[in-house]
């Protein structure tokens, strides 16, 4: 329950014995000072904006120097490079002035990468040279998928700390397998129409199994149906626009209608992609609670679309040299639109014991390019 101090307006717990800020003592009895209850949680708790202090120039130098070291060491250094890049971004993401900390160890990541390379070689080798064994590969992949998800989540959580307290992921292989089997079944019988259901269950699974120290992430049941219905509507609109645009181009210029349609199609696809990204992040983060902390995520489709479009053009036009700038820009925008609300501050979270996690899951997942960004 949130409340404020009647003396200095500092947010306090309704059952707090005294105000942290002005020191006013709260006691029972009619004449004593008492915390004043605050009706609307949202309005009152202190909002901490998420600050992102990275600069494109600084990150560019880190990126290119580590890239060249990776090249010169024939890839061995890539694990160190990854840690340096992550440490830079984590350290520059700050809440209440305190930066995040990336604790992944290069040696663990290197080991993970070697296993990942072997797994990828095995996968493509089998797919190309022993196609008769493809069914075996499919079964193996299906069995490995929950393991990859759980392990990479666990590694990333274990490697992330804020105020010297690690995140933790407790989801188990069997839970994840059950989830994938059930939602996979629903997806098949609905011919894929249940994708929003799948996505919502997966996000619930990922969020609910995270905790910050001993404090679990709480998420009510999620539903993304509205978002995807509107995305499909947008898709129809884009298809129509592409067809009309092609026809118009054909009539006016005389040639290249296919190119015009394709271009409109791609841009439209990017817009829908931005829409889904923004809406899902907003819908999810806005209901997440970690103890007394809640979040506001206010991404806007238009902003995100423009950001991605400019990033793509810049990266292509500079043959990739603008990638660091593009990444910093995207991360800064996401941080700017995120606010943490925490009554009573961020000082009272408690650390948990957690066992070390290997990096193989994360690295294999990365090589096969699956992205489970929260």
């Amino acid at each position: 329950m949130r409340a404020r101090c009647p003396n200095c307006d500092n947010p306090v717990d309704s059952d707090a014995p005294k105000c942290d800020k002005c020191g006013a003592l709260f006691a029972s009895g009619s004449a004593a000072w008492k915390p004043v209850p605050v009706a609307d949680d949202r309005r009152y708790p202190v909002g901490y904006p998420v600050e992102f202090t990275a600069s494109a120039g600084e990150y560019f130098r880190i990126w290119i120097v580590n890239l060249v070291l990776t090249i010169l060491t024939l890839g061995v250094y890539s694990a160190w490079a990854k840690v340096r890049r992550r440490r830079y971004f984590y350290g520059h993401t700050r809440i209440d002035g305190e930066g995040f900390e990336y604790r992944g160890r290069p040696i663990a990541i290197l080991k993970g990468r070697l296993i990942a390379v072997a797994a990828v070689a095995l996968f493509y080798g089998t797919a190309n040279f022993a196609p008769s064994l493809i069914w075996l590969l499919a079964i193996l992949t299906a069995c490995a998928a929950p393991w990859l998800i759980v392990r990479s989540m666990a590694f990333n959580a274990y490697s992330s700390a804020y105020r010297n307290i690690r995140l933790r992921f407790r989801g188990t292989y069997l839970q994840c397998l059950g989830l994938l089997l059930w939602t996979g079944f629903i997806l098949v019988v609905t011919f894929g129409l249940a994708y929003p259901y799948f996505k919502a269950r997966l996000m619930e699974f990922l969020f609910r199994n995270h905790s910050y120290g001993t404090t679990a992430f709480e998420v009510p049941d999620l539903s993304y149906f509205g978002i995807y219905v509107r995305a499909v509507g947008l898709g129809l609109f884009v298809g129509l626009a592409a067809a009309l645009g092609g026809m118009f181009f054909n009539a006016v210029v005389g040639d290249g209608s296919r190119a015009a349609s394709t271009l409109i199609g791609y841009i439209g696809y990017l817009f829908i992609f931005s829409y889904i990204r923004a809406e899902i992040a907003n819908a999810t983060w806005s209901v997440v609670r970690i103890g007394k902390a809640s979040f506001e995520c206010a991404l806007r489709t238009g902003d995100l679309f423009w950001l991605y479009l400019v990033n793509i053009i810049a990266i292509v036009a500079t043959l990739g040299l603008a990638a660091p700038w593009a990444i910093v820009r995207a991360m800064r925008y996401r941080a700017q639109k995120m606010t943490v609300f925490a009554a009573g501050g961020l000082e009272s979270f408690v650390a948990a014991e957690s066992a070390e996690v290997g990096a193989e899951g994360e690295e294999i997942g990365e090589m096969f390019d699956f992205d489970l960004s929260l």
Binding site: R61, G75, E101, I165, I315
Partner: protein, 348 residues
């Protein structure tokens, strides 16, 4: 004595404690916010510096010190993290960053133009022909499913061309089992293409376009050249290598857009086959002369393919002696046909 301000986290809660740290030769003394701790230096794990972020010290028992006083830490722990400290120095200067850009660009260019083709050539020599044949079979399967249908050429003509092909490939002693496949391929126009392992596909349109069997043999000799030089396999290895290279270079940029990655791949990829075509041509001229056919037939059929393509630019997609020049002309996948015709005539 070295002293610095720091924030102390005890590792049990997220409470921030402002402390003063004093560095002694063998220990740190942490004082403030109700703490007075002595920690041996040897038990402290120092995190390497990262631009613009606080320095972190891990203390025994999971506690942590965070400080902005980089100079103090350098003085206290002069030998910690030598690798990362050196890298941090490189990261701090634009001169090194620009040098790194030059190295990265030079390396990428060298790999794409020389390194990968060379590596693919060396690697392909170690791939047994049986595996090549498997690759070829898979390619043919997928071609049959997507691009090509059964041939309409009558059995007599097929037999005749197959006999010529057998004569062309006889006594090569290169371990390949050559076979000629007839297909009707829509949208590919007059074309022939070699698959890894020895299968050569001939389109009905090319059979119709050719004025005589010698012209077809000339094209087939060119395709056999591709097989012998393992161009299909080498191209596959090069493509895989290039994808791996770009994935490594792009790193975390990949997640931003696939497009930025695939576009340069396509640009680089199209540059490869020039050399391959020349190699295949050279083989064709030599082999044609061995079986008493003049390379002029190769010149003739090239000219006819060129002519038919000019009439119907859309009909020339796919791979073969005249691949895609019409729609990807600016990428100059193939040496100009005129040049090749000239070379064929010179080689008579």
């Amino acid at each position: 004595m070295i002293e610095f301000d720091a924030i102390f986290y005890d590792g049990r809660t997220s409470t921030r404690n402002a402390v003063r740290v004093r560095g002694f030769p063998r220990s740190l003394r942490i004082v403030g916010a109700g703490y007075d701790l002595e920690v041996p230096l040897a038990a402290v794990r120092v995190e390497p510096p990262v631009a613009g972020t606080r320095r972190l010290l891990h203390l025994p028992g999971g506690a942590q010190l965070q400080t902005d006083d980089d100079a103090a830490l350098r003085a206290l722990f002069p030998r910690s993290n030598p690798l990362e400290t050196w890298v941090h120095g490189l990261e701090g200067r634009w001169a090194y960053a620009l040098a790194a850009v030059a190295v990265a660009a030079g390396f990428t260019w060298w790999c794409a133009v020389y390194g990968l083709p060379l590596a693919a050539e060396l690697a392909s020599a170690h791939v047994p022909t049986s595996i090549e044949a498997k690759l070829g079979d898979r390619a043919l399967e997928s071609i049959d499913q997507t691009l090509c249908g059964p041939t309409a050429i009558d059995a007599g003509k097929q037999g005749e061309l197959s006999r010529n092909f057998a004569a062309l490939t006889a006594g090569q002693g290169d371990g390949y089992t050559y076979r000629l496949e007839f297909r009707a391929c829509k949208g590919m126009g007059p074309n022939a293409f070699a698959l890894p392992g020895g299968a050569v596909v001939l389109t009905d349109a090319l059979v119709k376009l050719a004025q005589n069997d010698a012209q077809i043999s000339a094209v087939l000799a060119h395709e056999v050249g591709h097989v012998r030089h393992r161009h299909g396999l080498r191209l596959a290895i090069q493509a895989a290598g290039l994808a791996a290279l770009i994935a490594t270079l792009a790193g975390d940029a990949v997640s931003i857009t696939g497009l930025a990655v695939t576009l340069p791949t396509a640009l680089l990829q199209s540059g490869y086959s020039r050399e391959f075509e020349d190699e295949a041509d050279a083989y064709a001229f030599r082999r044609l002369k061995e079986i008493q056919l003049s390379p002029k037939y190769f010149a003739q059929i090239l000219a006819r393919i060129e002519e038919s393509r000019n009439k119907d630019p859309d009909a020339n997609r796919g791979s073969g002696p005249e691949r895609r020049r019409s729609d990807l002309g600016y990428l100059s996948t193939h040496p100009a046909t005129a040049e090749r015709i000239e070379r064929a005539l010179k080689n008579q």
